[in-house]
Amino acid sequence: MSVLTLPAQPGQDTAPPPVPWRGMAWVTWRQQRALLISVPAVLAAVAVALVIFGLKAHHDYAALVNCPLNQGRQSGACQKLFSHFNSTDWPLANTVSILVALAPVLIGAFAGAPLLARELESGSYRFAWTQGLGRERQVIAKLVLVGIALVILAGAFGGLFSWFFQPFLWTEQMNRLTTEGVFASGGIVFPAFTLVAFMIGAFLGMLLRRVIPALAATLGGYLVIRLAAWGVRKYYPLAVVTGNSKVFSQFGTPSVPGYPWILSTWVTGPGGQPASQSITNGILNGPPGGSVPPGYTEWNRWIPLTHYWPMQCIEAGWLLVIAAALMAGTVWLVRHRAA
Protein backbone atom coordinates (compact mmCIF):
# COMPACT_ATOMS: atom_id res chain seq x y z
CA MET A 1 0.00 0.00 0.00
CA SER A 2 1.62 3.22 -1.08
CA VAL A 3 0.92 6.53 0.52
CA LEU A 4 0.42 9.55 -1.67
CA THR A 5 1.80 12.67 -0.08
CA LEU A 6 1.31 16.20 -1.21
CA PRO A 7 3.96 18.80 -0.46
CA ALA A 8 2.72 21.04 2.31
CA GLN A 9 1.62 24.39 1.02
CA PRO A 10 3.37 27.23 2.75
CA GLY A 11 1.25 28.49 5.58
CA GLN A 12 -1.20 25.59 5.35
CA ASP A 13 -2.11 23.93 8.59
CA THR A 14 -1.38 20.25 8.15
CA ALA A 15 -2.14 19.13 11.69
CA PRO A 16 -4.91 16.52 11.80
CA PRO A 17 -8.28 17.90 12.80
CA PRO A 18 -9.32 17.61 16.45
CA VAL A 19 -12.12 15.19 17.21
CA PRO A 20 -15.43 16.99 16.94
CA TRP A 21 -16.84 15.38 20.04
CA ARG A 22 -20.33 16.65 19.58
CA GLY A 23 -20.44 15.49 16.01
CA MET A 24 -19.07 12.08 16.92
CA ALA A 25 -21.52 11.88 19.80
CA TRP A 26 -24.37 12.17 17.32
CA VAL A 27 -22.79 9.67 14.94
CA THR A 28 -22.16 7.20 17.75
CA TRP A 29 -25.66 7.65 19.10
CA ARG A 30 -27.24 7.13 15.70
CA GLN A 31 -25.12 4.10 14.85
CA GLN A 32 -25.36 2.41 18.22
CA ARG A 33 -28.90 3.53 18.89
CA ALA A 34 -30.31 0.04 19.27
CA LEU A 35 -27.66 -0.86 21.77
CA LEU A 36 -27.77 2.41 23.69
CA ILE A 37 -31.50 2.04 24.13
CA SER A 38 -31.80 -1.66 24.84
CA VAL A 39 -29.00 -1.99 27.39
CA PRO A 40 -30.32 0.72 29.71
CA ALA A 41 -33.85 -0.60 29.19
CA VAL A 42 -32.89 -4.11 30.21
CA LEU A 43 -30.83 -2.83 33.12
CA ALA A 44 -33.74 -0.66 34.20
CA ALA A 45 -36.10 -3.62 34.14
CA VAL A 46 -33.69 -5.71 36.17
CA ALA A 47 -33.14 -2.75 38.49
CA VAL A 48 -36.86 -2.50 39.17
CA ALA A 49 -36.91 -6.20 40.03
CA LEU A 50 -33.88 -5.75 42.27
CA VAL A 51 -35.49 -2.84 44.08
CA ILE A 52 -38.69 -4.77 44.70
CA PHE A 53 -36.91 -7.87 45.87
CA GLY A 54 -34.31 -5.86 47.73
CA LEU A 55 -36.88 -4.02 49.79
CA LYS A 56 -38.40 -7.33 50.79
CA ALA A 57 -34.99 -8.76 51.63
CA HIS A 58 -34.07 -5.77 53.74
CA HIS A 59 -37.36 -6.03 55.56
CA ASP A 60 -36.93 -9.73 56.27
CA TYR A 61 -33.39 -9.12 57.37
CA ALA A 62 -34.34 -6.36 59.78
CA ALA A 63 -36.92 -8.65 61.36
CA LEU A 64 -34.28 -11.34 61.65
CA VAL A 65 -31.76 -9.07 63.31
CA ASN A 66 -34.22 -7.87 65.85
CA CYS A 67 -35.01 -11.44 66.77
CA PRO A 68 -32.88 -12.45 69.74
CA LEU A 69 -31.38 -15.40 67.84
CA ASN A 70 -27.79 -14.55 68.48
CA GLN A 71 -28.35 -14.40 72.17
CA GLY A 72 -29.10 -18.07 72.39
CA ARG A 73 -32.83 -17.82 72.92
CA GLN A 74 -34.17 -19.52 69.84
CA SER A 75 -37.85 -18.99 69.80
CA GLY A 76 -40.06 -20.72 67.28
CA ALA A 77 -40.90 -17.51 65.49
CA CYS A 78 -37.26 -16.63 65.12
CA GLN A 79 -36.48 -20.05 63.73
CA LYS A 80 -39.20 -19.61 61.17
CA LEU A 81 -37.84 -16.28 60.07
CA PHE A 82 -34.39 -17.75 59.87
CA SER A 83 -35.36 -20.72 57.75
CA HIS A 84 -37.60 -18.64 55.49
CA PHE A 85 -34.75 -16.27 54.85
CA ASN A 86 -32.36 -19.11 54.14
CA SER A 87 -34.64 -21.19 51.97
CA THR A 88 -36.52 -18.57 49.99
CA ASP A 89 -34.72 -15.26 49.96
CA TRP A 90 -31.21 -16.63 49.88
CA PRO A 91 -31.43 -18.98 46.83
CA LEU A 92 -32.98 -16.21 44.79
CA ALA A 93 -30.29 -13.78 45.84
CA ASN A 94 -27.62 -16.33 45.04
CA THR A 95 -29.01 -16.81 41.55
CA VAL A 96 -29.20 -13.09 41.01
CA SER A 97 -25.61 -12.69 42.09
CA ILE A 98 -24.50 -15.26 39.55
CA LEU A 99 -26.41 -13.52 36.78
CA VAL A 100 -24.97 -10.19 37.81
CA ALA A 101 -21.52 -11.72 37.60
CA LEU A 102 -22.23 -12.43 33.93
CA ALA A 103 -23.65 -8.98 33.29
CA PRO A 104 -20.37 -7.22 32.52
CA VAL A 105 -19.41 -9.60 29.79
CA LEU A 106 -22.87 -9.67 28.27
CA ILE A 107 -23.06 -5.92 28.18
CA GLY A 108 -19.45 -5.54 27.15
CA ALA A 109 -19.55 -8.26 24.50
CA PHE A 110 -22.77 -7.08 22.90
CA ALA A 111 -21.54 -3.52 22.93
CA GLY A 112 -17.91 -4.08 22.03
CA ALA A 113 -17.78 -6.93 19.55
CA PRO A 114 -20.10 -5.43 16.93
CA LEU A 115 -18.75 -1.90 17.33
CA LEU A 116 -16.06 -2.29 14.72
CA ALA A 117 -16.59 -5.80 13.42
CA ARG A 118 -19.99 -5.02 12.01
CA GLU A 119 -18.63 -2.26 9.80
CA LEU A 120 -15.92 -4.58 8.56
CA GLU A 121 -18.28 -7.42 7.91
CA SER A 122 -20.85 -5.38 6.05
CA GLY A 123 -18.36 -3.35 4.06
CA SER A 124 -19.64 0.00 5.32
CA TYR A 125 -16.17 0.79 6.64
CA ARG A 126 -15.41 1.74 3.05
CA PHE A 127 -17.65 4.73 3.60
CA ALA A 128 -16.75 5.48 7.21
CA TRP A 129 -12.99 5.24 6.83
CA THR A 130 -12.82 7.60 3.88
CA GLN A 131 -14.56 10.48 5.57
CA GLY A 132 -12.71 13.63 6.53
CA LEU A 133 -12.41 12.78 10.19
CA GLY A 134 -10.33 9.71 9.54
CA ARG A 135 -10.62 6.23 10.95
CA GLU A 136 -8.51 6.58 14.08
CA ARG A 137 -10.33 9.56 15.48
CA GLN A 138 -13.68 8.00 14.79
CA VAL A 139 -12.72 4.83 16.61
CA ILE A 140 -11.27 6.69 19.57
CA ALA A 141 -14.40 8.77 19.84
CA LYS A 142 -16.66 5.72 19.69
CA LEU A 143 -14.67 3.78 22.25
CA VAL A 144 -14.56 6.70 24.65
CA LEU A 145 -18.21 7.70 24.30
CA VAL A 146 -19.68 4.22 24.54
CA GLY A 147 -17.17 3.28 27.23
CA ILE A 148 -18.17 6.23 29.41
CA ALA A 149 -21.85 5.44 28.95
CA LEU A 150 -21.29 1.81 29.97
CA VAL A 151 -19.19 2.76 32.99
CA ILE A 152 -21.90 5.08 34.26
CA LEU A 153 -24.63 2.50 33.73
CA ALA A 154 -22.57 -0.26 35.28
CA GLY A 155 -21.59 1.87 38.23
CA ALA A 156 -25.19 2.66 39.01
CA PHE A 157 -26.25 -0.93 38.54
CA GLY A 158 -23.40 -2.23 40.67
CA GLY A 159 -24.31 0.17 43.44
CA LEU A 160 -27.87 -1.04 43.33
CA PHE A 161 -26.77 -4.64 43.50
CA SER A 162 -24.54 -3.94 46.51
CA TRP A 163 -27.46 -2.43 48.34
CA PHE A 164 -29.62 -5.37 47.31
CA PHE A 165 -27.16 -7.96 48.53
CA GLN A 166 -26.31 -6.29 51.82
CA PRO A 167 -28.70 -8.39 53.96
CA PHE A 168 -27.15 -11.58 52.69
CA LEU A 169 -23.61 -10.83 53.62
CA TRP A 170 -23.70 -12.91 56.76
CA THR A 171 -25.12 -16.08 55.22
CA GLU A 172 -22.64 -18.89 54.72
CA GLN A 173 -19.79 -16.75 55.87
CA MET A 174 -20.26 -14.45 52.94
CA ASN A 175 -18.22 -11.38 53.05
CA ARG A 176 -17.59 -8.62 50.68
CA LEU A 177 -14.03 -9.56 50.09
CA THR A 178 -13.71 -13.21 49.28
CA THR A 179 -17.03 -13.92 47.71
CA GLU A 180 -16.44 -13.56 44.03
CA GLY A 181 -20.01 -12.70 43.32
CA VAL A 182 -20.03 -9.87 45.81
CA PHE A 183 -16.68 -8.18 45.52
CA ALA A 184 -16.72 -8.06 41.75
CA SER A 185 -20.35 -7.04 41.43
CA GLY A 186 -20.21 -3.79 43.30
CA GLY A 187 -18.11 -0.77 44.09
CA ILE A 188 -15.86 0.36 41.28
CA VAL A 189 -14.79 -3.11 40.25
CA PHE A 190 -18.10 -3.88 38.54
CA PRO A 191 -17.88 -0.95 36.12
CA ALA A 192 -14.20 -1.76 35.64
CA PHE A 193 -15.03 -5.31 34.58
CA THR A 194 -17.71 -3.97 32.27
CA LEU A 195 -15.24 -1.61 30.66
CA VAL A 196 -12.66 -4.35 30.28
CA ALA A 197 -15.21 -6.64 28.69
CA PHE A 198 -16.18 -3.86 26.30
CA MET A 199 -12.58 -3.27 25.33
CA ILE A 200 -11.96 -6.98 24.88
CA GLY A 201 -14.96 -7.08 22.59
CA ALA A 202 -13.84 -4.09 20.54
CA PHE A 203 -10.28 -5.40 20.26
CA LEU A 204 -11.31 -8.91 19.26
CA GLY A 205 -13.88 -7.49 16.87
CA MET A 206 -11.15 -5.55 15.12
CA LEU A 207 -8.80 -8.53 15.22
CA LEU A 208 -11.21 -11.18 13.99
CA ARG A 209 -13.27 -8.82 11.80
CA ARG A 210 -16.42 -10.83 12.30
CA VAL A 211 -19.08 -10.20 14.89
CA ILE A 212 -20.11 -13.65 16.06
CA PRO A 213 -16.63 -15.12 16.49
CA ALA A 214 -15.64 -11.92 18.30
CA LEU A 215 -18.59 -12.33 20.65
CA ALA A 216 -17.68 -15.89 21.45
CA ALA A 217 -14.02 -15.03 21.95
CA THR A 218 -14.98 -12.13 24.22
CA LEU A 219 -16.88 -14.49 26.49
CA GLY A 220 -13.81 -16.68 26.69
CA GLY A 221 -11.44 -13.78 27.28
CA TYR A 222 -13.63 -12.37 30.01
CA LEU A 223 -13.76 -15.72 31.75
CA VAL A 224 -9.98 -15.81 31.77
CA ILE A 225 -9.78 -12.36 33.33
CA ARG A 226 -12.40 -13.19 35.95
CA LEU A 227 -10.54 -16.32 36.94
CA ALA A 228 -7.27 -14.42 37.02
CA ALA A 229 -8.79 -11.78 39.27
CA TRP A 230 -10.16 -14.44 41.60
CA GLY A 231 -6.77 -16.07 41.80
CA VAL A 232 -4.69 -12.95 42.27
CA ARG A 233 -6.91 -11.16 44.77
CA LYS A 234 -5.37 -12.85 47.77
CA TYR A 235 -1.97 -11.42 46.91
CA TYR A 236 -2.92 -7.78 47.10
CA PRO A 237 -0.50 -6.16 49.60
CA LEU A 238 -3.15 -5.31 52.17
CA ALA A 239 -3.03 -8.15 54.60
CA VAL A 240 -2.37 -7.73 58.29
CA VAL A 241 -0.90 -10.26 60.66
CA THR A 242 -2.12 -10.53 64.20
CA GLY A 243 -1.62 -12.99 67.01
CA ASN A 244 -4.00 -14.55 69.48
CA SER A 245 -6.78 -14.00 67.12
CA LYS A 246 -9.58 -16.03 68.58
CA VAL A 247 -11.73 -12.96 68.38
CA PHE A 248 -13.04 -14.06 64.97
CA SER A 249 -15.81 -15.87 66.69
CA GLN A 250 -17.77 -12.67 67.04
CA PHE A 251 -18.27 -12.49 63.27
CA GLY A 252 -20.69 -14.34 61.12
CA THR A 253 -23.94 -13.55 62.89
CA PRO A 254 -26.92 -11.69 61.49
CA SER A 255 -26.25 -8.63 63.53
CA VAL A 256 -22.60 -8.47 62.51
CA PRO A 257 -22.64 -9.13 58.80
CA GLY A 258 -19.42 -9.87 57.05
CA TYR A 259 -16.45 -11.91 58.01
CA PRO A 260 -12.91 -10.84 57.40
CA TRP A 261 -10.93 -12.76 54.86
CA ILE A 262 -8.49 -15.07 56.54
CA LEU A 263 -5.66 -15.91 54.17
CA SER A 264 -3.71 -18.26 56.33
CA THR A 265 -3.44 -19.36 59.92
CA TRP A 266 -0.59 -20.90 61.83
CA VAL A 267 0.36 -21.59 65.42
CA THR A 268 3.66 -20.94 67.11
CA GLY A 269 4.77 -22.41 70.35
CA PRO A 270 7.14 -21.20 73.07
CA GLY A 271 10.08 -19.31 71.67
CA GLY A 272 8.33 -18.57 68.40
CA GLN A 273 8.83 -22.01 66.89
CA PRO A 274 6.04 -23.56 64.80
CA ALA A 275 3.85 -25.75 66.97
CA SER A 276 3.45 -29.46 66.39
CA GLN A 277 0.76 -30.71 64.05
CA SER A 278 -1.44 -32.20 66.75
CA ILE A 279 -1.45 -29.05 68.87
CA THR A 280 -2.05 -26.93 65.80
CA ASN A 281 -4.99 -29.05 64.75
CA GLY A 282 -6.38 -28.96 68.23
CA ILE A 283 -6.24 -25.20 68.40
CA LEU A 284 -7.49 -24.51 64.90
CA ASN A 285 -10.28 -27.03 64.99
CA GLY A 286 -11.34 -26.27 68.47
CA PRO A 287 -14.44 -24.30 69.35
CA PRO A 288 -14.51 -20.65 68.31
CA GLY A 289 -13.64 -18.44 71.22
CA GLY A 290 -11.92 -21.30 72.93
CA SER A 291 -8.71 -20.53 74.73
CA VAL A 292 -5.22 -21.02 73.41
CA PRO A 293 -2.78 -22.96 75.68
CA PRO A 294 -0.29 -20.69 77.43
CA GLY A 295 2.91 -20.19 75.53
CA TYR A 296 1.22 -20.76 72.19
CA THR A 297 0.06 -18.08 69.78
CA GLU A 298 -2.41 -18.43 66.97
CA TRP A 299 -1.39 -16.19 64.11
CA ASN A 300 -3.66 -15.05 61.34
CA ARG A 301 -2.86 -13.36 58.12
CA TRP A 302 -6.06 -11.67 57.14
CA ILE A 303 -7.67 -8.77 55.35
CA PRO A 304 -9.99 -6.68 57.47
CA LEU A 305 -13.35 -5.61 56.20
CA THR A 306 -12.21 -2.00 56.41
CA HIS A 307 -9.80 -2.70 53.57
CA TYR A 308 -12.68 -3.20 51.14
CA TRP A 309 -12.16 0.05 49.30
CA PRO A 310 -8.38 -0.23 49.00
CA MET A 311 -8.95 -3.71 47.54
CA GLN A 312 -11.45 -2.28 45.12
CA CYS A 313 -9.01 0.40 44.05
CA ILE A 314 -6.21 -2.07 43.40
CA GLU A 315 -8.41 -4.35 41.34
CA ALA A 316 -10.07 -1.53 39.42
CA GLY A 317 -6.61 -0.12 38.84
CA TRP A 318 -5.13 -3.09 37.04
CA LEU A 319 -8.39 -3.70 35.19
CA LEU A 320 -8.27 -0.13 33.90
CA VAL A 321 -4.67 -0.64 32.81
CA ILE A 322 -5.76 -3.68 30.82
CA ALA A 323 -8.68 -1.75 29.35
CA ALA A 324 -6.40 1.08 28.31
CA ALA A 325 -3.94 -1.34 26.74
CA LEU A 326 -6.73 -3.03 24.80
CA MET A 327 -8.01 0.32 23.62
CA ALA A 328 -4.53 1.28 22.43
CA GLY A 329 -4.27 -2.08 20.71
CA THR A 330 -7.58 -1.55 18.97
CA VAL A 331 -6.58 1.86 17.68
CA TRP A 332 -3.25 0.44 16.53
CA LEU A 333 -5.05 -2.29 14.59
CA VAL A 334 -7.34 0.28 13.01
CA ARG A 335 -4.43 2.39 11.94
CA HIS A 336 -2.26 -0.37 10.54
CA ARG A 337 -4.68 -2.84 9.12
CA ALA A 338 -5.55 -2.59 5.47
CA ALA A 339 -9.15 -3.74 5.64
Binding site: L92, I98, F110, V211, P213, L215, A216, N281, L284, N285
Partner: protein, 272 residues
Protein backbone atom coordinates in the same frame (compact mmCIF):
# COMPACT_ATOMS: atom_id res chain seq x y z
CA UNK B 1 -34.52 -13.04 -34.81
CA UNK B 2 -36.11 -16.40 -34.65
CA UNK B 3 -37.65 -18.07 -31.70
CA UNK B 4 -35.73 -21.05 -30.48
CA UNK B 5 -37.86 -24.12 -30.72
CA UNK B 6 -37.01 -26.07 -27.63
CA UNK B 7 -35.02 -29.06 -28.87
CA UNK B 8 -35.30 -32.45 -27.35
CA UNK B 9 -33.24 -31.69 -24.32
CA UNK B 10 -31.48 -34.00 -21.95
CA UNK B 11 -34.31 -33.36 -19.59
CA UNK B 12 -37.10 -34.50 -21.83
CA UNK B 13 -36.25 -38.15 -21.92
CA UNK B 14 -38.31 -39.35 -19.02
CA UNK B 15 -37.98 -35.98 -17.38
CA UNK B 16 -40.40 -35.47 -14.60
CA UNK B 17 -41.01 -31.91 -13.55
CA UNK B 18 -43.17 -33.16 -10.72
CA UNK B 19 -40.17 -34.12 -8.73
CA UNK B 20 -39.28 -36.65 -6.14
CA UNK B 21 -38.41 -34.68 -3.05
CA UNK B 22 -34.74 -33.88 -2.67
CA UNK B 23 -33.21 -36.58 -0.48
CA UNK B 24 -32.60 -35.55 3.12
CA UNK B 25 -29.01 -36.80 3.53
CA UNK B 26 -27.85 -33.92 1.36
CA UNK B 27 -28.72 -31.58 4.20
CA UNK B 28 -26.23 -33.38 6.43
CA UNK B 29 -23.30 -32.05 4.47
CA UNK B 30 -24.95 -28.66 3.99
CA UNK B 31 -25.51 -28.22 7.73
CA UNK B 32 -22.01 -29.43 8.55
CA UNK B 33 -20.31 -27.13 6.06
CA UNK B 34 -22.31 -24.04 6.91
CA UNK B 35 -22.09 -24.46 10.66
CA UNK B 36 -18.69 -26.07 10.82
CA UNK B 37 -17.13 -23.53 13.16
CA UNK B 38 -20.01 -23.80 15.60
CA UNK B 39 -20.04 -27.59 15.52
CA UNK B 40 -16.31 -27.81 16.08
CA UNK B 41 -16.39 -25.29 18.94
CA UNK B 42 -19.30 -26.97 20.65
CA UNK B 43 -17.68 -30.38 20.29
CA UNK B 44 -14.44 -29.05 21.73
CA UNK B 45 -16.27 -27.52 24.68
CA UNK B 46 -18.14 -30.78 25.17
CA UNK B 47 -14.98 -32.85 25.18
CA UNK B 48 -13.27 -30.43 27.54
CA UNK B 49 -16.26 -30.53 29.87
CA UNK B 50 -16.36 -34.32 29.87
CA UNK B 51 -12.65 -34.53 30.53
CA UNK B 52 -12.82 -31.92 33.27
CA UNK B 53 -15.77 -33.52 34.98
CA UNK B 54 -14.18 -36.94 34.82
CA UNK B 55 -10.80 -35.92 36.16
CA UNK B 56 -12.14 -33.66 38.87
CA UNK B 57 -14.99 -35.98 39.67
CA UNK B 58 -12.72 -38.93 40.24
CA UNK B 59 -10.67 -36.90 42.67
CA UNK B 60 -13.72 -35.61 44.48
CA UNK B 61 -15.12 -39.11 44.82
CA UNK B 62 -11.76 -40.25 46.13
CA UNK B 63 -11.62 -37.46 48.69
CA UNK B 64 -15.14 -38.21 49.77
CA UNK B 65 -14.40 -41.89 50.18
CA UNK B 66 -11.44 -41.02 52.39
CA UNK B 67 -13.61 -38.64 54.35
CA UNK B 68 -16.36 -41.07 55.21
CA UNK B 69 -13.84 -43.80 56.03
CA UNK B 70 -11.90 -41.58 58.36
CA UNK B 71 -11.72 -42.84 61.97
CA UNK B 72 -12.06 -41.63 64.61
CA UNK B 73 -14.69 -39.21 63.26
CA UNK B 74 -14.38 -35.76 64.77
CA UNK B 75 -10.62 -36.02 65.34
CA UNK B 76 -8.54 -33.10 64.12
CA UNK B 77 -7.17 -35.13 61.23
CA UNK B 78 -10.62 -36.09 60.04
CA UNK B 79 -11.79 -32.56 60.64
CA UNK B 80 -8.99 -31.40 58.35
CA UNK B 81 -10.22 -33.72 55.61
CA UNK B 82 -13.70 -32.42 56.09
CA UNK B 83 -12.56 -28.81 55.91
CA UNK B 84 -10.67 -29.47 52.74
CA UNK B 85 -13.61 -31.25 51.15
CA UNK B 86 -15.98 -28.49 52.10
CA UNK B 87 -13.78 -25.75 50.84
CA UNK B 88 -11.54 -26.68 47.91
CA UNK B 89 -13.53 -29.63 46.61
CA UNK B 90 -16.79 -27.82 47.16
CA UNK B 91 -15.58 -24.72 45.32
CA UNK B 92 -14.66 -26.83 42.34
CA UNK B 93 -17.94 -28.66 42.50
CA UNK B 94 -19.86 -25.43 42.75
CA UNK B 95 -17.97 -23.87 39.87
CA UNK B 96 -18.55 -26.93 37.69
CA UNK B 97 -22.22 -26.90 38.56
CA UNK B 98 -22.64 -23.24 37.76
CA UNK B 99 -20.72 -23.58 34.51
CA UNK B 100 -22.84 -26.52 33.44
CA UNK B 101 -26.02 -24.64 34.25
CA UNK B 102 -24.98 -21.54 32.34
CA UNK B 103 -23.80 -23.46 29.27
CA UNK B 104 -27.10 -24.28 27.52
CA UNK B 105 -28.27 -20.73 27.06
CA UNK B 106 -24.83 -19.46 26.12
CA UNK B 107 -24.39 -22.16 23.50
CA UNK B 108 -27.96 -21.92 22.23
CA UNK B 109 -27.49 -18.19 21.88
CA UNK B 110 -24.76 -18.83 19.33
CA UNK B 111 -26.33 -21.86 17.70
CA UNK B 112 -29.97 -20.95 17.24
CA UNK B 113 -30.35 -17.43 15.85
CA UNK B 114 -27.82 -17.58 13.01
CA UNK B 115 -29.48 -20.52 11.24
CA UNK B 116 -32.08 -18.34 9.56
CA UNK B 117 -31.12 -14.83 10.60
CA UNK B 118 -27.67 -14.93 9.07
CA UNK B 119 -29.11 -15.88 5.70
CA UNK B 120 -31.53 -12.99 5.92
CA UNK B 121 -28.87 -10.54 7.00
CA UNK B 122 -26.39 -11.45 4.27
CA UNK B 123 -28.97 -11.93 1.55
CA UNK B 124 -27.91 -15.52 0.87
CA UNK B 125 -31.47 -16.69 1.47
CA UNK B 126 -32.03 -15.60 -2.12
CA UNK B 127 -29.74 -18.49 -3.07
CA UNK B 128 -30.65 -20.99 -0.38
CA UNK B 129 -34.42 -20.69 -0.65
CA UNK B 130 -34.54 -21.00 -4.44
CA UNK B 131 -32.81 -24.35 -4.53
CA UNK B 132 -34.75 -27.49 -5.29
CA UNK B 133 -35.12 -28.58 -1.71
CA UNK B 134 -37.25 -25.60 -0.77
CA UNK B 135 -37.06 -23.36 2.27
CA UNK B 136 -39.28 -25.45 4.53
CA UNK B 137 -37.26 -28.65 4.29
CA UNK B 138 -34.03 -26.68 4.45
CA UNK B 139 -35.04 -25.10 7.74
CA UNK B 140 -36.41 -28.27 9.30
CA UNK B 141 -33.34 -30.28 8.41
CA UNK B 142 -30.89 -27.77 9.84
CA UNK B 143 -32.82 -27.20 13.04
CA UNK B 144 -33.40 -30.90 13.58
CA UNK B 145 -29.74 -31.78 13.06
CA UNK B 146 -28.32 -29.02 15.25
CA UNK B 147 -31.00 -29.35 17.89
CA UNK B 148 -30.62 -33.11 18.19
CA UNK B 149 -26.87 -32.89 18.52
CA UNK B 150 -27.06 -30.25 21.27
CA UNK B 151 -29.74 -32.18 23.15
CA UNK B 152 -27.79 -35.42 23.07
CA UNK B 153 -24.63 -33.70 24.27
CA UNK B 154 -26.59 -31.99 27.02
CA UNK B 155 -28.08 -35.25 28.19
CA UNK B 156 -24.64 -36.83 28.39
CA UNK B 157 -23.24 -33.92 30.37
CA UNK B 158 -26.14 -33.94 32.80
CA UNK B 159 -25.69 -37.63 33.55
CA UNK B 160 -21.99 -37.12 34.07
CA UNK B 161 -22.65 -34.16 36.32
CA UNK B 162 -25.09 -36.14 38.41
CA UNK B 163 -22.39 -38.70 39.08
CA UNK B 164 -19.83 -35.92 39.66
CA UNK B 165 -22.00 -34.12 42.16
CA UNK B 166 -23.20 -37.15 44.11
CA UNK B 167 -20.92 -36.70 47.17
CA UNK B 168 -22.09 -33.13 47.68
CA UNK B 169 -25.68 -34.22 47.92
CA UNK B 170 -24.85 -35.60 51.32
CA UNK B 171 -22.36 -33.02 52.55
CA UNK B 172 -24.52 -30.04 51.54
CA UNK B 173 -27.78 -31.74 52.44
CA UNK B 174 -29.27 -31.37 49.01
CA UNK B 175 -32.08 -33.38 47.56
CA UNK B 176 -33.20 -34.38 44.12
CA UNK B 177 -35.73 -31.60 44.23
CA UNK B 178 -33.36 -28.79 45.14
CA UNK B 179 -33.86 -26.47 42.20
CA UNK B 180 -30.26 -26.40 40.99
CA UNK B 181 -29.97 -30.17 41.26
CA UNK B 182 -33.30 -30.79 39.59
CA UNK B 183 -32.24 -28.59 36.69
CA UNK B 184 -29.15 -30.62 35.89
CA UNK B 185 -30.36 -34.18 36.36
CA UNK B 186 -32.71 -36.59 34.70
CA UNK B 187 -34.27 -35.23 31.53
CA UNK B 188 -34.52 -31.64 32.63
CA UNK B 189 -31.14 -30.42 31.46
CA UNK B 190 -31.47 -31.88 27.97
CA UNK B 191 -34.97 -30.47 27.65
CA UNK B 192 -33.87 -27.00 28.72
CA UNK B 193 -31.02 -27.10 26.22
CA UNK B 194 -33.42 -28.03 23.44
CA UNK B 195 -35.85 -25.28 24.32
CA UNK B 196 -33.04 -22.74 24.48
CA UNK B 197 -31.95 -23.69 20.98
CA UNK B 198 -35.49 -23.59 19.59
CA UNK B 199 -36.05 -20.25 21.28
CA UNK B 200 -32.89 -18.93 19.65
CA UNK B 201 -33.92 -20.13 16.21
CA UNK B 202 -37.39 -18.66 16.56
CA UNK B 203 -36.32 -15.28 17.90
CA UNK B 204 -33.53 -14.96 15.35
CA UNK B 205 -36.05 -15.54 12.57
CA UNK B 206 -38.65 -13.26 14.11
CA UNK B 207 -36.26 -10.37 14.66
CA UNK B 208 -34.47 -11.06 11.35
CA UNK B 209 -31.08 -10.37 12.92
CA UNK B 210 -28.44 -12.47 14.64
CA UNK B 211 -27.39 -10.07 17.39
CA UNK B 212 -30.91 -9.07 18.26
CA UNK B 213 -31.86 -12.74 18.27
CA UNK B 214 -29.01 -13.56 20.62
CA UNK B 215 -29.92 -10.86 23.09
CA UNK B 216 -33.60 -11.79 22.96
CA UNK B 217 -32.79 -15.47 23.45
CA UNK B 218 -30.83 -14.66 26.56
CA UNK B 219 -33.59 -12.53 27.97
CA UNK B 220 -36.32 -14.96 27.00
CA UNK B 221 -34.52 -17.94 28.47
CA UNK B 222 -33.77 -16.19 31.76
CA UNK B 223 -37.40 -15.12 31.97
CA UNK B 224 -38.66 -18.62 31.27
CA UNK B 225 -36.24 -20.16 33.74
CA UNK B 226 -37.16 -17.65 36.44
CA UNK B 227 -40.86 -18.23 35.85
CA UNK B 228 -40.33 -21.97 36.15
CA UNK B 229 -38.21 -21.77 39.26
CA UNK B 230 -40.28 -19.39 41.25
CA UNK B 231 -43.75 -20.09 40.05
CA UNK B 232 -44.44 -22.97 37.66
CA UNK B 233 -42.74 -25.67 39.67
CA UNK B 234 -44.81 -24.86 42.71
CA UNK B 235 -47.94 -25.65 40.72
CA UNK B 236 -46.99 -29.03 39.42
CA UNK B 237 -49.55 -31.64 40.33
CA UNK B 238 -46.81 -34.06 41.28
CA UNK B 239 -44.16 -33.76 43.96
CA UNK B 240 -41.64 -36.54 43.43
CA UNK B 241 -38.56 -36.55 41.27
CA UNK B 242 -39.35 -38.63 38.19
CA UNK B 243 -42.95 -37.53 37.72
CA UNK B 244 -41.81 -33.93 37.96
CA UNK B 245 -38.99 -34.59 35.53
CA UNK B 246 -41.32 -36.16 33.03
CA UNK B 247 -43.81 -33.36 33.39
CA UNK B 248 -41.21 -30.66 32.95
CA UNK B 249 -39.50 -32.40 30.05
CA UNK B 250 -42.91 -32.89 28.53
CA UNK B 251 -44.00 -29.29 28.48
CA UNK B 252 -40.55 -28.14 27.42
CA UNK B 253 -40.72 -30.55 24.51
CA UNK B 254 -44.11 -29.23 23.49
CA UNK B 255 -42.81 -25.69 23.72
CA UNK B 256 -39.80 -26.62 21.59
CA UNK B 257 -42.02 -28.14 18.93
CA UNK B 258 -44.20 -25.03 18.94
CA UNK B 259 -41.13 -22.80 18.54
CA UNK B 260 -39.86 -24.89 15.63
CA UNK B 261 -43.29 -24.75 14.07
CA UNK B 262 -43.33 -21.01 14.55
CA UNK B 263 -39.91 -20.70 12.96
CA UNK B 264 -40.97 -22.65 9.89
CA UNK B 265 -44.16 -20.64 9.62
CA UNK B 266 -42.14 -17.41 9.71
CA UNK B 267 -39.75 -18.77 7.09
CA UNK B 268 -42.58 -19.72 4.77
CA UNK B 269 -44.19 -16.35 5.16
CA UNK B 270 -40.99 -14.40 4.56
CA UNK B 271 -41.24 -12.16 1.52
CA UNK B 272 -38.10 -10.85 -0.05
Amino acid sequence: MTVFAPPASRLDAGADVRSRPVPWPGMLWVTWRQHRALLITVSAVFCAAVAGLLVTGLRIHHDYALLIACRPAGSPACQGLSDFFNSTDWHQGEFAHIAVQAAPVLIAMFAGPPVVARELETGTYRYAWTQGIGRGRWTVAKLALLGSLLTIMAFAISQLLTWFFAPFMTTRQLTDLTPTVFDTSGLSYAAWTLVAFCLGAFLGTLLRGTLAGMAATLGGYVGLAAATWFYLRDHYPVRTFWPMQLLEAGWLLILSAALIGGTIWLVRRYAA
